[in-house]
């Protein structure tokens, strides 16, 4: 019974502190953060620039050691999409995805079919042979998204993934992401500056506050899916969150 409840929490963070540097240049990016993300939950993080969102994702992905506190993912595999597209410049778009598949242990014979399938998913069909520098910023972000999905992990961390997309492509990718999240029962932590996007996608939205980084407020999004980013229900919750964000700004 206890193991069952334990299994329902995909990410458990307790008293997480992350600071950079020593002495005068010392920054406390995260100051004692507690967080539970249920398995299969879509969690969105909102907050001003510099409040520690990327830092939190890096610690969750075990790329950075916490200064203090604990992070427990119960041994789950993590995929991450970075704030700046980090495609490997010596590989084509298809090559980047094939590498992710290879490192995830997909046998060679299945890779090329999987690559084509994954690219199609993000409407990148004809771009398989293009190198990263030949793609637009939005295309690079989509390739990076596809590469993260290729890892077939159960936890997906996304750092402002759709920042460089036009509204139409973004809406399509919201639908795709939601569908994949459902089908694969992913646990998603999604960082964004777009309040409507957070409400459109999230089961739960956390509002973070800076110096030191912490969770300031949270909202359970009780709007039934499928949602539309321009629906009045989404708009109403977005307005509430925006007001909270602004109140936070006037305090500092």
């Amino acid at each position: 019974m206890t193991t069952l409840t334990a299994a329902r929490t995909a990410i458990r963070v307790r008293g997480l502190i992350k600071s950079f540097g020593h002495g005068r240049g010392h920054t406390v990016a995260l100051g004692g953060l507690d967080l539970d993300v249920a398995e299969g939950q879509f969690l969105c993080l909102l907050g001003r620039s510099g409040c520690g969102k990327s830092t939190l994702l890096n610690v969750l992905a075990q790329l950075d050691e916490p200064t203090a506190g604990s992070v427990d993912l119960g041994g789950r595999k993590v995929a991450m999409m970075f704030q700046d597209a980090t495609l490997f410049p010596w590989l084509t778009a298809g090559g980047n995805i094939a590498l992710a598949l290879r490192l995830a242990g997909v046998p060679r014979s299945q890779r090329s079919a999987r690559v084509a399938e994954l690219l199609e998913l993000a409407h990148l069909g004809g771009l398989q042979q293009k190198r990263p520098h030949e793609l637009s910023g939005g295309m690079r972000q989509r390739v990076a998204l596809v590469r993260a999905l290729a890892q077939d992990a159960s936890v997906l961390l996304m750092d402002e993934p759709f920042g460089a997309l036009d509204a139409m492509t973004r809406d399509v990718l919201h639908d795709e992401l939601e569908r994949i999240w459902r089908e694969r029962r992913l646990t998603v932590v999604f960082v964004t500056h777009n309040v409507r996007e957070a409400v459109r996608l999230g089961d739960r939205v956390l509002l973070m506050a800076p110096s030191p980084g912490r969770v300031d407020a949270e909202l359970d999004v009780d709007v039934p899916r499928p949602r539309r980013i321009d629906s009045p229900e989404v708009g109403e919750r977005a307005r509430r969150l925006t007001d909270q964000l602004q109140a936070q700004g006037s305090m500092t």
Binding site: L63, D84, F88, L103, R131, Q151
Partner: protein, 277 residues
């Protein structure tokens, strides 16, 4: 309007080979003509007698004669075989040392600056020791060639890996690359441009060391380009001396050009250096 842009694009994509070649060839041809003219002028000025400073025509004739014979080609063969063996060994040594230094903090402190020190050391300074160790033999030449080239290759690899973008490394870690797969799939490809620059520089050092070596280590009945310089001076055969120097220069430039072409191709495929300065 759109049509015009499209043609311009297509033009840039597949420039006719003839025109691309011409764009590279005419500055070289011009430089060559100017150099030959200057040389001819100095020869005519009587600054030095003919038998010491021959004019371009005399040298050209000597070169043409010897290119028609077999001896020069034997010499080129020996020298290129030594260059190939020495450079291959240098790549092996340089790469292994570079990787070892990258992996181990202790080694880096111990030999990091020594490698740069070796790079600045004139290779000719090694020959007395090499000759004591190996006598006048192939090994003596090989020893000095490797000592000349390997440090540059190691340094290229080390700086390539040191300058690896931390963001790419993070991406690689998240994708699950570790140990050998981290090196083969991310670290080495990322370091490739710097490694190629190291190889190019290593080649230049190898070629210099080899010529110095062949001048000093003369092995009987084995013609080589450096050895040829030695005998040309002994016999005061100035046209032959200068003709051989030209052969040495041209071979050095051709191999360097091959490395430059490979390196530029790699950089272009990554979108590096696409903007004119």
């Amino acid at each position: 309007m759109t049509a015009t842009t499209a043609t311009v694009e297509a033009d840039r994509g597949h420039r006719p080979i003839g025109r691309a070649l011409w764009a590279r060839l005419w500055p070289m041809t011009a430089a060559l003509v100017i150099a030959l003219t200057l040389w001819q002028l100095v020869a005519w000025s009587g600054f030095r007698p003919d038998y010491v400073l021959p004019d371009p025509l005399a040298v050209g004739k000597d070169l043409a004669d010897r290119l028609g014979g077999t001896e020069l080609w034997h010499a080129i063969g020996t020298t290129m075989r030594r260059a190939a063996v020495g450079f291959t060994l240098s790549i092996l040594v340089g790469t292994l040392v570079g990787l070892a230094v990258v992996k181990s903090r202790v080694l880096r402190t111990a030999v990091g600056s020594l490698i740069t020190g070796l790079q600045t050391m004139p290779s000719i300074a090694w020959f007395p020791l090499a000759i004591l160790l190996f006598q006048l033999s192939e090994q003596a030449i090989l020893f000095v060639v490797v000592l000349g080239a390997a440090p540059s290759i190691a340094n290229g690899l080390i700086s390539g890996i040191d300058d690896l973008s931390p963001q790419l490394l993070r991406a690689a870690r998240v994708l699950g690359a570790k140990g050998v797969s981290l090196y083969t799939s991310v670290v080495m490809p990322a370091a490739l441009p710097a490694y190629l620059a190291g190889l190019k520089q290593g080649w230049a050092f190898a070629w210099r060391s080899l010529m110095a070596g062949e001048l000093l280590v003369v092995i009987a009945n084995r013609p080589a380009l450096g050895t040829d310089l030695h005998f040309a001076r002994e016999f005061s055969d100035a046209p032959r001396l200068i003709a051989t120097m030209i052969v040495i220069l041209v071979i050095g430039m051709i191999v360097d050009g091959i490395f430059a072409t490979i390196a530029n191709g790699v950089r272009r495929r990554r979108g590096l250096g696409a903007l004119p300065l």
